[in-house]
């Protein structure tokens, strides 16, 4: 018996001027066709990413007013529908990271562990999905803290990108700027998006 666990559907990195720097889209499992396909078109993902920006602004304003929220973690930005939810993080330089999580993006075969229902699970994708993956499935829901590790990994990737002396941040930062074209960065983001499952502690 198989259960669905959350997976990352899309990672978007948005610049200080609300310009997209990078968008990576990850396929979700489709039980009907038994295939992996992105849940939506890239354009729809772009639109979703774009509409989260308001929340960032709101939170930033709020944080500025109250002096809280220094961590940059924005938590749940937006529940798109019952499947998709957007979580956000903002660095202190205004780089916004949005992760769209598909609550049923990946299917693991629970029967591997001997018919314990949703209790046991082994992730086909990562092989390391701990029990919390199925806990999500069983009703606890995805906690915002689960995504902290993702954001940390993305931020690390971005920092590594910035450390590249050939990367020109200004080119990216200015309004209507270019997108990040570093292949290494893209690979890293892709790796993060593919390897994350709820409960992993390091990426």
């Amino acid at each position: 018996m198989a259960t669905d666990i959350p997976s990352i559907a899309c990672i978007g990195i948005i610049g200080r001027n609300n310009n997209p720097l990078h968008v990576s889209i990850f396929p979700s499992y489709n039980p009907y066709t038994n295939t992996l396909a992105p849940l939506r078109t890239p354009l729809q993902f772009s639109l979703l990413l774009s509409s989260t920006l308001d929340v960032f602004e709101l939170r930033a304003r709020h944080a500025a007013g109250t002096g809280t929220g220094l961590s940059g973690d924005m938590g749940l930005l937006h529940a798109v529908d019952e499947r998709l939810a957007a979580y956000g993080f903002e660095t202190n330089t205004g780089i916004k990271m949005v992760v769209l999580v598909d609550m049923r993006g990946r299917r693991v075969d629970a029967s591997v562990l001997g018919g314990k229902g949703g209790a046991g699970s082994s992730s086909a994708a990562s092989g390391s999905a701990p029990a919390s993956a199925s806990a999500v499935n069983s009703g606890v829901g995805l906690r915002e803290a689960e995504l902290k590790v993702v954001f940390r990994a993305i931020q690390n990737a971005y920092i590594r990108l910035l450390q590249n002396p050939f990367f020109e941040p200004d080119e990216v930062m200015e309004k209507g700027g270019k997108k990040i074209t570093s292949r290494k960065f893209e690979t890293e983001i892709r790796r993060i998006g593919e390897s994350w499952t709820p409960g992993v502690t390091s990426l």
């Binding site: 259960t3 669905d4 609300n18 310009n19 997209p20 968008v23 990576s24 889209i25 396929p27 489709n30 039980p31 009907y32 066709t33 295939t35 396909a37 992105p38 078109t41 890239p42 354009l43 729809q44 772009s46 639109l47 979703l48 774009s50 509409s51 989260t52 308001d54 709101l58 749940l76 937006h78 529940a79 798109v80 529908d81 019952e82 499947r83 939810a85 609550m103 049923r104 229902g117 949703g118 209790a119 029990a131 919390s132 199925s134 806990a135 999500v136 499935n137 069983s138 009703g139 606890v140 829901g141 995805l142 309004k175 209507g176 700027g177 270019k178 997108k179 074209t181 292949r183 893209e186």
Partner: protein
């Protein structure tokens, strides 16, 4: 079983054995709810409870009022009525929405039945907090007099106390569990008027002191009588408490006589009236006292309960790790505390309790799942919900069985529709079929207690409780309704401030919902799956249909979606508030409403106008909500509007909301945003459902122009359509196997329980309508919330939907708004796709102007995207080199995966559309082309004067583009001010620019040497004009990396052999004529058919007298007579040289003049043009000074010739040309060239003699001309270098560059030579050539390109040539022209005037010979030039004065009248001498007359001279002055006179003529000198000595 009760009120039980409550009630109810309570929590700070709602319950009958209708009577009107006039226990349906029913579902429908309750204490439940117990028990006592009291009442009260004593009061042994139900008690003595008790005062002052429990304040007030009933009561029942002292548990209320119904009023007045009557003030005071007791006692019992609860919870919490610990029990316990808080109005604390519980549930579930040992806790949560299981079973049955109509099916599944849950608004009754989130929907608490609850239900319950609390906090309409449905007397007591909602709390509700829905969906899904799969427990016989039935997953999906949708709608309904102003139609442009007006909008599916219309007629047109949508669509639905329930948002209220919304309430934005998100969420769910039915929202057909990174991965593009098909085929097979219905193509609706959703999914139109409505709602809310991005995103969704549906007009207007927004922010992928759709819309709409604009934008954006793509590829090495040529660009194009299909064809359409335009459409070149640059170097045609420049550009377009015309402008960077020098290059033929790299060759027939940069490029294709203009400002900005002409510079030269046209200063200068310029034309290899030369001055004040032009050398014919500044020639054969000379004049002296020469000439190949703007130095190279010395017969002219420049001059030949009057003579010419150095001028002396017999008149040319042939050494050097270099160049096959070399030499050589170098070169006759070889040799020739006919780089070749040449010619001789060629050197012709001297005098003093010289012994006369005479020797001399008019060459009659020229002139002479030098005799002074007609005359005047001292004495001087004649005073002078004094410088040596001198040698002479003692003069014969 318990009675349902409200969790938000405090229960007070009263015992009314004497049936006096009806007397007391009217007085007590208006004083409720209790206000301003202060509870000192033992743990926390002082808590204030503003309002405490109290529910009075009759303990004996328990629900006396529930049977009665809730007639609401005021105290004033209540008198005389048989029933008590208030509602004590409002269990009626009107308030059951929030009341907790722990009952079977059937009993919910009959909640008003009075449950039998046994009197006395009930058994305590094992789990505390489950029941509802009173906080306060009140015994109402009627005791009319002391006797009765003593006899019966006291015993009764004691009995009651015994029966109902709170455990804390009676005995301490009772388990602490009892404290969960702790209560206090109170005795209220109701005094009926006209009784003895009524006549008593309250307290007797005397006894007051003795009473231990009474208050001193009250004791002082009542003074009379013995102990009263009150005192007795107090004395009897106020038991002293242990720690806190006695508690007064007795209160007395006297009922006014007017308040007692007549039939109850005792008729018998007591015999001993004391005359006491109570005043109004006293009564009021008594009431206050009672209320205060209520408060303190309630708080006391509450405090006790809380303490107990907290203790228990701590205890239970500590046991958490123990096996057998049951979360459900813990939950109930903790919830009891939370409910307690809620009861007393501490809603926040209650909410915190529930939040903690929620987290607790999370962790429990987590552990349960993680460990897989639910048994450890002795309990487990069910993995599935029975109800859901039934539901899914039914849905499956309906889907597979196909027989049951969905609606009936739903009726059968009686989940929520039949319950009589009331809506938030009373008028919206019975419409709520889907209030899924409610704590009363199921007997949750019973299920929890029974450990029979599923995760799903558990979560739902907690969430419902949280929401309910939040709503109460938020003071929402629903929560308020609940609170006031009971005793409506409390309504007026509500403070005005409480009537407004706390928006931030409502927003919190929404926020929690947004988190809840995904979570609960997940839970529900697994729940469903579990129930389908038979569940974990395996107790159910239902076999797993999940794997067998292919419809099952879909049914599950439907159920979950429907549930989520319903929850969202419910929360939207509950959080709707009038305080949230939602703009009506500002978002929608009017034209969108046009199609809408014909389609009824399903607005009523939205809250607040959730009406029963859907329920009743699911397929009917839903009426629009009048309040929310007062748009044009409202009219169409007016007919059915009676079914809509306008109560929550009546039109007036909605209208009133608009002005109220102008000030921002706190939380308003938040709430709006959350609600908008809920709407968006609903829409997403709808969208997903629709997708399964193939009703796309248009995204599937959206062209994705931007490549995403996906394509780099090996991921095949599975479009969503395929998805749908597969889904539908699945269901098709399913349904066809099950049923034979043809409509089986559609996926099943089974499981879709939300009625909105069901209706919307019923058919396509409704689906889109609902979709649109939800989006629209979201937009409005987002607008209020100021969420721009979200608004735009929603607008985009709408636009795409409209586009998908073919409503191009609306779509266009939406696109119009959204496209720029995303474009500005860099969402280029979105923008591009939208532009594609936008342009198609416009195309459909035939809006050409807009179409052109949008299509251009689209193309340019697509180009930008393409550019990005290219650069990324390049970055990754996919495109190795950009220097590929045409053929490779194709290949490269194939290499690229082409995402431009969407854009393809747009260009052609655009060109088509613009063809009809009357104006050109300008587009910056950069939008369509990137990497535009000059390819290579200019190429020069052989034997023609034009050149070609290749421009290479990367076309970013998806289509081929045909260019009709291409032009490029070059602007000279070396242009001097005033003259803009530009070259236009043109494209020869039409060209097709393909995607990828293209090269355009541009040809120019104008060829002017110089450095240029690309200034402007324009490519024209029909009406589309792509242009590029170089930004002058950006030139300095190095950091700006433009890929358009990154190196715009181009060097152009004229190859040798071109037509050459020069304008130089004539090398022969004649100073007294106007200067001339030479125009030299050399046709080179051109066979010129016609040629126009236009000469224009560039220097201010310069006038070119071209009309006076004449040919030098062979004469040619003008094709037309020359006009001003224009010469036209006919055909000229090749290699023809012609030279024209024309004068010019300048207004002021300038060193250089500048003129512009333009040559336009036609050959067989076409018309060429060229120009030059030379700067011509016209300053003289040498300066000449002349000094004239007049003699009687000749004038000696001395010319001093100096150089003006630092460079030495070579003077080859000089000549003074004689004139008609004068003749010049020169000595023998020097055999060498004269060299003139800057500090060493040359001097030439000429003798000028007047020609005899020439009469001077005005016509006579008197001027002599000095002609000098010279050359400047520097020029010599330049010429020599040029010549030598040219020869070297020709021999090195670099002949075309001779012009370049010459220019180079001319430019660099003078600059690098110092004055010393020049002087040295002049002296040595040769000069070193090292000056020409600089370090930047290559750089100065850069940009020339290749050597024609070879692959050599011209600059390198030229540099090598110069170096080589310099090595072979370290020095070059100065080329002195041979004698025959002297004439070829530059010459200057200087007019020399001999000044006119009217009278020239020659004065001579001659000593008469022989002279006797004292030095000669014989006294013979000396023949030496200097006569020697003795001192005092008398000399006779003759003064010869000679005058001549020979030099009077002023033209007679020219200036003066003829008679005056011949005037006589009188002169005087005077011989003067210093007095100690000569002694003069004779006529020292005299007067002479010069007659007019005579030419010359000589006079002799004898003089006698005697020298007076020894030495060399000069002759006496003679002065001649013009004398003023008295009679002819007017004659005046005729100019200066020249005096040639011949004796000037002559001396006479005078010696002493002593023969013998005797001196004394001592110094006794005068002045210490020798003393002349004796001297003897020598005597010479013939000498006269004075």
């Amino acid at each position: 079983m318990e009675q349902p009760f409200s969790t938000s009120k405090v229960t007070v039980e009263y015992y009314d054995p004497h049936d006096v409550y009806k007397l007391l009630g009217p007085g007590i109810l208006p004083r409720l709810p209790l206000r301003n309570l202060h509870w000192q929590s033992h743990a926390g700070p002082l808590r204030s409870i503003d309002v405490l709602y109290v529910e009075l319950v009759n303990a004996s009958s328990n629900a006396p009022a529930s049977i009665a209708s809730p007639s609401l009577l005021r105290r004033s009107t209540g008198a005389g009525l048989s029933d008590d006039g208030f509602q004590t226990q409002p269990i009626g349906g009107s308030k059951s929405a929030s009341s907790d029913q722990i009952d079977t579902p059937t009993s919910i429908h009959t909640p008003t039945g009075p449950a039998s309750q046994q009197p006395g204490r009930e058994r305590r439940h094992q789990i505390p907090g489950l029941r509802r117990t009173p906080y306060l028990k009140v015994l109402l006592v009627r005791c009319d007099d002391n006797d009765t009291y003593k006899s019966t009442t006291r015993a009764e009260i004691r009995e009651w106390i015994k029966e109902h004593t709170p455990p804390s009061q009676s005995t301490r042994k009772v388990s602490t569990q009892e404290n969960h139900d702790a209560f206090e008690w109170l005795i209220v003595h109701v005094v009926v008027p006209n009784t003895a008790a009524a006549n008593q005062p309250r307290l007797n002052g005397k006894n007051a002191d003795g009473a231990p429990g009474e208050k001193s304040s009250s004791s002082s007030r009542w003074r009379t009588g013995s102990s009263t009933l009150l005192e007795k009561l107090r004395a009897d029942f106020n038991v002293a408490g242990k720690g806190s002292g006695p508690v007064d548990r007795v209160a007395q209320i006297r009922i006014g006589i007017n308040d007692v119904p007549y039939d109850l009023l005792p008729r018998v007045v007591p015999a001993t009236p004391t005359g006491y009557s109570e005043s109004e003030k006293d009564a009021e005071h008594a009431w206050d006292e009672l209320i205060a007791k209520f408060k303190s006692l309630i708080l006391a019992s509450f405090d006790m309960r809380v303490t107990q609860y907290e203790e228990d919870i701590r205890e239970k919490d500590a046991q958490r790790r123990l096996p057998g610990w049951n979360f459900c029990t813990f939950f109930i316990l903790k919830e009891g505390l939370a409910r307690g808080f809620e009861s007393v109005g501490l809603v926040e604390d209650a909410l915190v309790g529930y939040d903690e519980l929620s987290v607790g549930l999370d962790s429990v579930i987590h552990e349960q799942v993680a460990l897989g040992e639910p048994e450890r806790h002795g309990s487990s949560l069910l993995s599935h919900t029975e109800e859901l299981k039934q539901k899914v079973a039914r849905a499956l049955a309906s889907a597979t069985g196909g027989g049951a109509a969905p609606v009936e099916d739903e009726e059968a599944v009686d989940l929520q529709g039949e319950s009589k849950i009331k809506d938030v608004a009373p008028s919206l009754d019975s419409t709520l079929d889907e209030f899924l989130i409610s704590s009363t929907r199921k007997p949750y608490r019973d299920m929890i207690v029974a450990n029979n609850v599923s995760v799903f239900d558990f979560r739902c319950y907690i969430f419902a409780r949280q929401i309910a609390l939040l709503l109460r906090l938020g003071n929402s309409l629903s929560a308020k309704t609940e609170l006031v449905t009971g005793p409506q007397q409390q309504v007026p007591a509500l403070k005005p401030s409480e009537e407004t909602e706390v928006l931030s709390m409502l927003a919190e509700v929404c926020r929690r919902t947004l988190q809840f829905i995904p979570a609960i969906s997940q839970i529900m899904r697994s729940d469903l799956v579990a129930s389908l799969g038979g569940g974990r427990g395996g107790d159910n016989g239902t076999q797993s249909t999940l794997s067998l039935n292919p419809v099952a997953p879909e049914v599950v999906d439907n159920l979950v979606s429907s549930f989520a949708f319903s929850v969202a709608q419910q929360i939207l309904a509950q959080t709707s508030t009038q305080a949230l102003p939602i703009p009506a139609s500002s978002l929608i442009s009017p034209k969108i409403d046009e199609p809408k007006s014909s389609i009824p909008e399903p607005k009523t599916m939205m809250h607040p106008a959730r009406s029963s219309s859907l329920h009743i007629r699911p397929s009917s047109r839903p009426p629009p909500s009048p309040g929310v949508f007062p748009g044009p669509g409202a009219g169409s639905g007016a007919g059915v509007s009676e079914t809509s329930a306008p109560a929550p948002a009546p039109p007036a209220a909605a209208a009133a909301a608009a002005p109220r919304g102008q000030f921002l309430k706190s939380g308003l934005e938040e709430l709006a945003a959350r609600r908008a998100e809920l709407y968006a969420l609903s829409r997403s769910i709808l969208e997903e459902c629709g997708k399964k039915r193939g009703w796309g929202n248009g995204w599937a057909s959206v062209p994705d122009v931007e490549e995403s990174d996906i394509e780099e991965m090996d991921m095949e593009d599975i479009s969503l359509d395929d998805d749908d098909e597969s889904t539908t085929t699945t269901s098709t097979t399913t349904t066809t196997t099950a049923t034979t219905k043809p409509q089986a193509v559609e996926p099943s609706l089974a499981g879709v329980e939300s009625r909105f959703l069901r209706v919307a999914l019923d058919n396509k139109d409704d689906f889109y309508r609902l979709f649109e409505t939800l989006t629209d709602k979201a937009i409005r809310h987002y607008t209020v919330a100021d969420h721009h991005h979200a608004v735009q995103a929603c607008l985009t969704e709408l636009a795409i939907l409209k586009y998908h549906l073919g409503d191009y007009g609306s779509a266009a207007s939406y696109f119009h708004r959204t496209t720029p927004f995303f474009g500005e922010n860099g969402w280029s992928a979105l923008e591009l796709s939208m532009l594609v759709m936008y342009s198609r819309c416009l195309q459909e709409l035939q809006r050409k102007d807009d179409y052109v604009r949008v299509a251009l934008k689209l193309l340019s954006k697509a180009a930008v995207a393409q550019k990005d793509r290219l650069s990324r590829k390049k970055l990754r090495g996919f495109v190795p080199s950009s220097h590929r040529q045409e053929g490779q660009s194709r290949e490269q194009q194939q290499q690229l995966p082409n995402p431009d299909d969407a854009v393809r064809g747009v260009l052609d359409k655009l060109i088509d559309v613009t063809k009809a335009f009357s104006h050109e459409v300008p587009i910056p070149l950069a939008q369509f082309f990137s990497d535009v640059r000059l390819e290579g170097h200019p190429e020069y045609d052989l034997r023609r004067d034009g050149f070609t420049l290749a421009v290479s550009m990367q076309s970013l377009l998806a289509d081929d583009m045909e260019i009709d015309q291409g032009r490029m402008r070059l602007v000279s960077t070396t242009a001097t001010a005033g003259a803009t020098k530009e070259l236009w290059l043109e494209c020869a033929t039409a060209q097709v620019l393909r995607p990828g790299r293209n090269t355009i060759r541009l040809y120019s027939k104008t060829c002017v040497a110089g450095r240029y940069e690309v200034d402007r490029v324009s490519l024209i294709s029909n009406k589309i004009h792509m242009h590029y203009e170089r930004d002058i400002d950006s030139e300095s900005g190095v950091g700006v990396t433009s890929d358009l002409f990154p190196l715009p510079h181009v060097t152009i030269y004229r190859p040798a052999g071109c037509l050459d046209c020069q304008l130089v200063a004539t090398k022969d200068i004649q100073l007294d004529r106007s200067n001339t310029l030479d125009l030299k034309l050399h046709t080179g290899w051109n066979r010129v058919k016609s040629c126009d030369i236009r000469v224009r001055p560039n220097t201010g004040g310069l006038r070119l007298l071209t009309m006076d032009a004449q040919f030098i050398g062979p004469a040619f014919e003008f094709a037309q007579p020359p006009e001003a500044g224009l010469f036209r020639f006919g055909s000229l054969s090749a290699e023809t040289a012609l030279q024209l000379r024309f004068p010019y004049s300048t207004e002021q002296d300038v060193a250089t003049i500048s003129a512009r020469v333009e040559v336009t000439y036609t050959t067989d190949d076409g018309t060429y043009s060229s120009w030059a703007g030379p700067s011509i130095p016209i300053s003289l190279a040498l300066g000449v000074n002349v000094q004239d010395i007049f003699k009687h017969g000749a004038v000696f002219s001395r010319f001093s010739i100096s150089t003006v420049s630092p460079s030495p001059l070579l003077l080859f030949k000089s000549e003074l040309r004689e004139s008609e009057v004068f003749q010049s003579h020169f000595g023998s010419a020097p055999d060498k060239t004269i060299m003139v150095f800057p500090k060493q001028p040359a001097s030439l002396l000429y003798k000028v003699v007047r020609k005899p017999g020439v009469t001077v008149n005005s016509k006579t040319a008197k001027t002599l001309y000095l002609k000098l042939h010279y050359s400047v050494v520097l020029d010599e050097m330049v010429v020599a270098t040029e010549k030598s270099l040219k020869e070297a160049a020709v021999s090195a096959d670099l002949a075309p560059f001779t012009n370049v070399l010459a220019t180079h030499v001319r430019k660099h050589l003078p600059a690098r030579l110092t004055a010393y170098d020049l002087e040295r070169a002049a002296l040595l006759g040769q000069f070193p050539t090292t000056a020409l070889v600089g370090t930047h040799l290559e750089a100065s020739f850069a940009g020339l390109g290749k050597v024609p006919g070879s692959e050599r780089d011209a600059s390198a070749a030229l540099a090598a040539l110069i170096r080589d040449w310099q090595r072979r010619n370290p020095t070059l001789p100065l080329l002195h022209p041979p004698a025959a060629d002297v004439e070829e050197t530059p010459s200057i012709l200087i007019p020399v005037d001999v000044p006119s001297v009217p009278v020239h005098w020659t004065v001579d003093i001659q000593l008469q010979k022989p002279l006797f010289s004292p030095l000669l012994p014989d006294g013979a006369a000396t023949s030496s030039a200097t006569p020697v005479v003795g001192i005092n020797q008398l000399l006779s001399a003759s003064l010869t004065v000679q005058w001549t008019r020979t030099w009077h060459t002023a033209a007679q009659g020219q200036a003066q009248a003829p008679e005056s020229t011949a005037t006589r002139q009188e002169f005087s002479y005077e011989v003067t001498t210093p007095a100690d030098t000569w002694l003069l005799g004779g006529r020292k002074r005299g007067r002479m007359t010069v007659p007019a007609e005579e030419d010359t005359c000589t006079m002799e005047i004898p003089l006698l001279m005697a020298p007076l001292r020894e030495g060399w004495l000069p002759y006496p001087s003679v002065e001649i002055r013009e004398a003023k004649s008295d009679e002819q005073g007017t004659a005046g002078s005729q100019g200066p006179i020249e005096l040639d004094y011949r004796n000037l410088g002559e001396t006479v040596r005078v010696v002493a003529d002593r023969e013998r001198v005797t001196l004394s040698l001592d110094s006794s002479g005068p002045g210490g000198g020798p003393l002349v003692l004796e001297s003897e003069r020598r005597v010479v014969d013939g000498r006269v000595v004075v």
